[in-house]
Symmetry: C2
Subunit: 352 residues, 2 copies
């Protein structure tokens, strides 16, 4: 098995901790290791033959540096010259497989999955289904009517460990529909985690995205890797396309493995309290030298290594970095993206 | 005239910016110069013969360093070995006067007075009254029913520039009484600023605080200053007493000069917006590299030199220092004192 980690996101909703050169996945969001490091460590028990991290140029150096301590197996960091969404990266990774029957597990670098054991068990089941020639997507058993995720519908009454044939992919729903999905029981959160054989995904790319497939065929491999010139030419030639829209929503070989491990894509600061246990009052304080919490409730604070004193505040996000300070209510965490937009507009590149 | 600046306060309500060794008056509360520096600069147009700053040992060194740039006149920093409230300090300063008829103006170091011109005019009127042998206290014309200040009552119908004979001093009132005072028109805020002749205050100390007076008489002067041993012995001998309670509330020579300059004793973070002009939404942002304020209102932020982003927050105090971070609502700013108490209890001296 090859683990393909998609790690090129910008994570602007995690500003000011997340920056262009130091995005969410390279951050120590939970304290300690970064999300990328945790993603890699999570798959080590599966003993993959190699790990391929696909990121962008700004982040390649730090990604490689963060993973230098992984010596059990080869870790390769590929820097995309330009962003072209997920389909080209997925195709590229498939070309790297030495055997056509190698199973690739494609994982985002910025998800939080506390239950590593269950995660590996699910991936093993996924690998079996992938080995049989299917395109496997992992569907997370929903625990609330979340409107921030896409959903996967499977046949009503599907039960057990799967795989289940996928009826359709559903865009982020409104609350009413999300509640219906949750009640129906045959809808799962689309995790963006996939497994497939190299030959199978290349066939499907050929069927549904022939231009990308042709560009992939043109790619010359050198010592099992891709030469820099080839990479440049490939990304210059291909169009941006997501693997979800380009292949998964069209292919008839798609199947879903249900997963019940705790999972969050940690889309914004407000998602952190879902995955980090807080104190009795629901306060999550990370990277603080100490705290004085007086009548504070439901707050998330990144302390920048300082003594953090919260007095009489509720459901507040507080993030401190060496050059910036953010304060906002938890229910407006999505709008942090807008702050980054504003800084960009003003040309304040040093804060991006 | 000698200017006596009482500068030994701890200002715990301004934690975390205010610390034992770096209290409110040594802080750049308004950005730029410290309150002590502003206090000294404010009196320079009065051309006093010297300035005496009375502080404690922890703060003496920084006080002297902050005032080293004042070269127009002698500035002397006296470090009290122990705190004994204001009466001993006031007596000590009077002993330093070379002539008995020298007028001493006693000023706290931690008040904000934006209108320097009016302040000097009031002090000149005060000096005239003091020269005639009165104990002069400055009363601030109240602009709201403030419950955080003591009041001075003068005869009803007193008008003009004063001086007005003082009927009585009133402790901090409750809101109802404060509203009555404001409506009555003959009540003023007790500013803690005084003027008197050296001989007059020494006489009054002799009358009302004879033990202190005796200790003062024992003090030996050397070259117009006080020797360190003498200072130690004096503070070991005297009891703590405020000049307000010990003399002003008892003496029949007290008179009040009304003052209408903007004034605040800046008792806590919540008082700052009274003296610093905010933006259109009433936000006061100090010491920030820049701001992104989205739907923020009535906030006070000390940015620690950083980019400060406030999103969707109202009436919040945010203070960042190199080792601590404080967030609290403006209407709970008084409770910041309690945070310091908590840190003290826990023995976390580095944060005091």
């Amino acid at each position: 098995m090859i683990i393909v980690i998609l790690a090129g996101g910008s994570g602007t909703r995690f500003w000011p901790l997340s920056r262009l050169r130091h995005p969410k996945q390279l951050m120590s969001v939970l304290g300690g290791k970064s999300m990328l490091q945790r993603t890699v460590e999570r798959v080590l028990p599966l003993k993959p033959e190699r790990i391929v991290v696909i990121t962008n140029r700004l982040q390649a150096q730090e990604s490689a540096a963060q993973l230098a301590y992984i010596t059990e197996l080869p870790v390769e960091v590929i820097a995309e010259p330009v962003g072209r969404n997920t389909a080209p990266a997925v195709g590229l990774a498939a070309r790297l497989a030495l055997s056509p029957e190698t199973v690739l597990a494609v994982l985002p670098a910025d998800h939080v999955i506390p239950d590593q054991e269950e995660f590996c068990a699910v991936l093993r089941r996924g690998a079996v289904a992938a080995g049989e020639g299917r395109l496997v997507t992992l569907g997370i058993t929903p625990t609330r009517p979340e409107t921030g995720y896409g959903y996967i519908e499977v046949a009503p009454g599907s039960c057990g460990d799967g795989p289940f044939p996928v009826s359709r992919f559903v865009e982020k729903p409104d609350l009413e529909r999300a509640q219906q999905f949750l009640a129906a029981g045959n809808f799962y959160w689309n995790s963006g985690m996939f497994l497939w054989r190299a030959d199978v995904i290349l066939e499907e790319l050929n069927r549904h995205l022939p231009e990308l497939s042709a560009a992939l065929a043109d790619l010359e491999l050198r010592d099992g890797g891709i030469a820099q010139e080839g990479l440049e030419a490939f990304y210059a030639a291909v169009k941006g396309e997501s693997i979800d829209v380009g292949v998964m929503e069209k292919s008839d070989r798609v199947t879903m493995i249900p997963a019940s491990f705790g999972w969050s894509d940690v889309g914004s600061w407000s998602a952190l309290p879902e995955v980090v246990e807080g104190d009795d009052n629901g306060n999550v304080i990370i990277n603080a030298a100490g705290t004085v919490l007086t009548d504070a409730q439901g707050c998330l604070a990144y302390g920048g290594g300082k003594m953090v004193a919260l007095l009489g505040v509720k459901d507040l996000i507080v993030v401190e970095t060496p050059d910036a300070l953010l304060i906002c209510p938890r229910d407006r965490a999505q709008e942090v993206k807008g702050i980054v937009g504003e800084l960009e507009l003003r040309g304040l590149k040093e804060y991006l």
